[in-house]
């Protein structure tokens, strides 16, 4: 019973964190059609924010505004100088953001060094959940993520901004005709997307190794989640995270980390091939 509960908690935890990591790319790629190769680097920026805050001796919660500010600033620069000229040109955005990803990695490497850093957990200790002993930080994180996704879901569904975003995605020409400033809306969505990546980085920092090259794995898993789940809906994001996170966890446990990785890759190629619109397709 304990073991089952532990496995279930792990499963939920992995799926939720993956969904949080992929959320930013779901907005930027799924809604705006921009393949942001620097997505993982924004996660990295979030994680380094925690490191900076910790080194400065500040409370770890201060990392949150720092990460959001840094990501928003970077995101604004990127959108203003590069992306806005390249909407609907996926290959060019891929190239430009790929270059930017390299640049961000190299800057972080030059400033912080190449080696692994670790971040202390702000909530040490464990709690008992359903008979299983589980790290407190993870439990709190899971609760926060569930609340966050629920809030986001309701907001996207109910708010006027949500409706305008959906309008822009489904019919950009008509959106401008009814007076929606799609340029500003797209910029806002882009910055929101990269800030969400930074947020994911903050949440993950105490649990993973923080290093300049940590972003690539997150880029790939986010991408696979979108391929499997489908673009453009929160449901697809959660389904994709569950499939990718679940299959990775199960196969990794049976064989090895490499086996899990290979399974994820094969599943993604299969989806690309057999069901290019993913499980939850937009229409």
């Amino acid at each position: 019973m304990e073991l089952v509960a532990l496995q279930a908690l792990n499963f939920v935890y992995i799926s939720l964190t993956l969904a949080l990591v992929a959320l930013g790319l779901a907005v930027v790629f799924g809604l705006l059609g921009v393949m942001n190769m620097a997505h993982g680097e924004f996660v990295m920026l979030g994680a380094y924010s925690v490191l900076v805050v910790q080194n400065a001796g500040l409370p770890l919660l201060a990392a949150l505004p720092l990460a959001l500010a840094v990501c928003a600033a970077f995101g604004w620069l990127l959108e203003f100088f590069v992306i806005r000229h390249l909407y609907r040109r996926p290959f060019d955005t891929l190239l430009a953001t790929w270059g930017l990803a390299i640049l961000m990695r190299e800057i972080v490497e030059a400033v912080f060094g190449r080696d692994y850093k670790s971040v202390n957990q702000s909530l040490p200790g464990t709690v008992e959940v359903l008979g299983a002993v589980y790290p407190a930080y993870r439990v709190v994180l899971m609760a926060l993520m569930v609340a966050f996704f629920a809030g986001l879901f309701l907001w996207y569904r109910r708010s006027n901004t949500g409706a305008r975003i959906k309008a822009m995605v489904s019919n950009p020409a008509l959106a401008t005709a009814v007076g929606v400033n799609t340029a500003v809306l797209a910029r806002g969505a882009f910055i929101f997307g990269v800030c969400m990546a930074g947020l994911a980085g903050v949440a993950l920092a105490p649990l993973v190794r923080v290093e300049p090259y940590m972003g690539i794995d997150y880029l790939l898993s986010s991408f696979f989640i979108l391929v499997v789940g489908g673009l453009g809906s929160l449901a697809g994001l959660l389904v994709g995270s569950t499939v990718i996170g679940g299959s990775d966890a199960i196969v990794s446990a049976i064989t090895s980390k490499t086996g899990g990785y290979m399974t994820v890759l094969v599943i993604s190629i299969l989806f690309l091939w057999l069901r290019p619109n993913g499980i939850v397709s937009r229409d």
């Binding site: 430009a96 090895s256 490499t258 890759l265």
Partner: protein, 579 residues
Amino acid sequence: MASSRAINLLFLIGLLLVPFLWDGFVAYQLGLFLLYGMVGQGIGLCWGRAGFLPLGQALFFGVGAYIFGSVLKLEAGSLFLIAGLLAAILLPALIAFVVGFLVFIRQIGSGPYFSLITLALTMLGFQLANSMDWLTGGFNGMTGIPALPGTETYETLYYVIWAALVLVSGVLAYVGTAPFGQSLSATSQNEERLQYFGFNTALLKAIAFAISAAVAGLAGALFAPHQGIVTPQSVGFLLSAEIVVWTAVGGRASLLGPVLGAILIGFMASELRDSFQYWEVLIALVFVIVVIRFPGGLWSLAEDLAHRLPSFGAKGARERDIKIDKSRAKGPVRLAFEDVELVLGPVRILDKLSFRIETPGVHSIIGPNGAGKTSAFNVLTGRLKPTAGRIEYNRAQVGGLSRHRIARMGIARKLQIPSVFPDLSVDRNVDIALWAGDLTLAQMFTLRPFRWSTPLLNEMYDIFPFLEDGRRLAGSLSLGQRQMLDFAMTCLTQSPLLLLDEPCAGLSSSETGEMIDAIERIVGTTGSTAIIIEHDMQVVERLSNHVLVLNQGALLANGAMEEVRSDPAVQAVYGGGSK
């Protein structure tokens, strides 16, 4: 062109002289950069020419290195060595072909998807190399690889590497010039149009990717004796990314630009890496600027400085002295739509559309906007898959087949917006139309198809004299001329069935007159069946006596112009009626 070739030769000869001008160690260092540069040349083929970017090329480099490294370690006979070398080249090529084909066949514009899959593959390769200790030596790498038999690693191996570079450059130059390379360029400019000419673009791109992987495998094979050790870093993501950077900075669209990039950045890095902390940041910045502002890279900047021509498309005029016979079996075309439906989301675009066309000549489709005219062409040519119903062409079911297969069955299509290949010369555009449906895969790698000619081509030159200035880039033609070139290309395929979607759109009235004459004349000469979508009743009246009227996705009327005109149902949907 000759000048560009001269620069290439000078560059290669200069590389050969390095051991004499400097010393053996510089040449040894240079050898490594040449190997990386070769991988970059393969990326150049994919990225600069075919328009898709592989981000995990080190995977193939590393696989080649591990294979040949382990063969060298066995210290067996030379036959075994050659087999090992072949394996180091062919296995990467096979992996690349399979992955490429699987990804490319599913969708056009799979660009970002392809790049990310290759990135994931190289990450996987890195993990495999790390974890398969028994094969690769794991994290510490495969060590103690002996020198290549017959060479001194710090002396003569350089010449082997140089020879490999010359070989690779020669092969890539040839492949690029041959119909294969020209078709790849066309793919990057307008993949869908090329499919309507019967080209299997997924196959072409997969082959290009396989060639690039083979080159990377060869470079990797030589890397093993050069370094004496192969570590997981050689298959990893970092090396992949670096080679892409070098390729971009050196010049992805040129033959030797990637090599130049690898040499320059390689040497500068070994000088500056330790003394200048922000060196890598600087290189990344240069990459971003090059990608956005100077897609031609350093090589094309150098060429521009020397006032050279761009290296694409401008091949010298060749005599068209090989007459080929493109006239297919004549006989009437039999086309039948039976209850064809097309539903996209909530919209019913074609609603049980049924008609038959069994007589040669020009047939016209008219109807109000949104009647489903272009959609009928789309389901007939494989752009869209019909939701229900049958489309039969000469008794074969075509609904749902891929574009290039339908094109090869003898259906050619001209899109409404003129779709020529703008960065290719007029001659190359014409070539592609002549090759359509007749060029075999083997012929793609020979130069003879550039000499192909047909009687119809001479007639085209007669009708459209501007085509004879074959070295002009198609993109520099006026709209009217592009419309005419596109029409000429569609007809030059000599497909029994020609689909022309508003061939006079955007033409002035005098150009419209020329176009009508041309259509009449060509259809008369070839005996093809043509279906035209047209709004201008005068054009319709001049060209055809069989008119199909579509409305709301179904056939409203069908018959001679006079019958259709007097049909009250037609008058009701057309201007003048009361609705």
